[in-house]
């Protein structure tokens, strides 16, 4: 007992953790479990923002519901904690109203791909200028470990106690075929490569998508008897293969199989506001005053 008191009364350190500049410190410690991969991904985003040197007043972060949905609440940016699955529509509205802002959607697989799946494909089709970071932990973690659209075949979950029998989504293929201009996948262990990828994705005009395979210790690992998140990190270390430019059709993730990571798509395509201006210019000619134009002054 005395040890506890001594630890609680430890002198406050004068020096500051570098992440404290970007975190809402009144909300830390966060609720994520021990060995969860989401905190690591948040650090990667902070590193990317730091390296880009962006004005943080011009960056907005949006999340839906779920474990990853809490990221917006923890970051000291313009943040928006939206309804379940609707983070991309809110982001699209924000992007149209304020084209000068960098819009980042940071949410989980259950939120973005299952409940918000239709919003995801249509915003990718329209190529709205935003960055979507999807933390894929293969399960609905916050609600108790139900089957998600990304749960691999034969993996157990709370609603598939004998193993999932459905085919999972291949997220990079979904994003690439819907029209995303930048598609990458990394694991929570490839932290520096992930930060570089997020940096490229934010700088890229158009719909860019980064999938992050992250360990879920309390539900996915426990229900499948895979140990802790640290064991999953070791698994990623041994079983991930970097293949830049791989065909997204061939990068399915099976249960405990090889994970192919890398940057798969990096193409140039005019983003939504540019298309809107060009289309109206074609019809109305000089009567049309272009909207946005990059600095949002119009």
């Amino acid at each position: 007992m005395s040890k506890k008191v001594a630890l609680n009364k430890a002198p406050v350190e004068e020096k500051q953790h570098p992440m404290e500049k970007i975190l809402r410190m009144d909300r830390i410690p966060h609720i994520w479990c021990s060995t969860c991969g989401i905190g690591t991904t948040v650090t990667a985003l902070a590193m990317a923002l730091d390296q880009l040197g962006l004005d943080l007043n011009k960056v907005a972060i949006l999340s839906g519901i779920g474990c990853t949905g809490r990221v917006a609440g923890y970051l000291k940016l313009d943040s928006f904690h939206t309804t379940h699955g609707r983070s991309i529509p809110f982001a699209f509205g924000l992007h149209i109203a304020r084209p000068d802002m960098k819009v980042i959607v940071f949410s989980g697989d259950g939120d973005l791909i299952s409940i918000g799946g239709n919003h995801f494909i249509h915003t990718a089709r329209r190529n709205a200028d935003m960055t979507v970071i999807c933390v894929n932990n293969f399960i609905y973690a916050m609600t108790g470990g139900q089957v998600a659209p990304t749960t691999p075949t034969t993996a157990r979950s709370a609603t598939s106690p004998y193993g999932c029998y459905e085919h999972p989504f291949n997220l990079p293929l979904l994003a690439a075929s819907s029209g995303a201009v930048y598609v990458a996948r990394w694991t929570a262990l490839h932290i520096r490569r992930l930060a570089n990828s997020i940096k490229e994705a934010i700088a890229k005009p158009g719909f860019s998508f980064v999938e992050v395979v992250a360990p879920c210790s309390t539900l996915y690992a426990r229900l499948n008897k895979l140990g802790t998140g640290l064991d999953l990190m070791k698994f990623y270390h041994d079983n991930s293969v970097i293949k830049h430019g791989a065909d997204p059709k061939e990068i399915d993730i099976d249960y405990q199989s090889q994970i192919i990571v890398g940057k798969f798509v990096d193409i140039d395509k005019p983003p939504y506001i540019e298309c809107f201006n060009a289309g109206n210019k074609r019809v109305f000619g000089d009567k049309f005053k272009p909207y946005g134009g990059g600095n949002g002054s119009n």
Partner: protein, 93 residues
């Protein structure tokens, strides 16, 4: 360290040294920093923090080369490393 050729600026090079700061109360004992420290500076300590986790402790703090891997892998923002400018070992020839 063995070089296949000696770098021309070997006299100017210094192995960086980092000063570790562990915020024990924020730690959830996941062990990422202990597992992935390239110099094996950290171990999980026997002590508990008030949440009941074992925070890491530095057993060889002088070996730290300020690679920042513990800082960026920590999911709980509980460890960080600051570069000590004046210190730093000479590169062995």
């Amino acid at each position: 360290m063995k070089f296949w050729r000696t770098p021309l600026d070997i006299d100017k090079l210094k192995i960086p040294h980092g000063e570790l700061h562990i915020i024990a109360e924020r730690c959830k004992g996941c062990g990422f920093c202990v597992e992935y420290c390239p110099k094996d500076v950290l171990v999980l300590s026997e002590e508990f923090n008030s949440k009941g986790y074992h925070p890491p402790k530095a057993v060889k703090p002088e070996e730290c080369v300020n690679c920042d891997l513990c800082e960026i892998l920590c999911p709980d923002f509980a460890i960080y490393c600051l570069r000590v400018e004046e210190e730093g070992k000479e590169v062995a020839k």
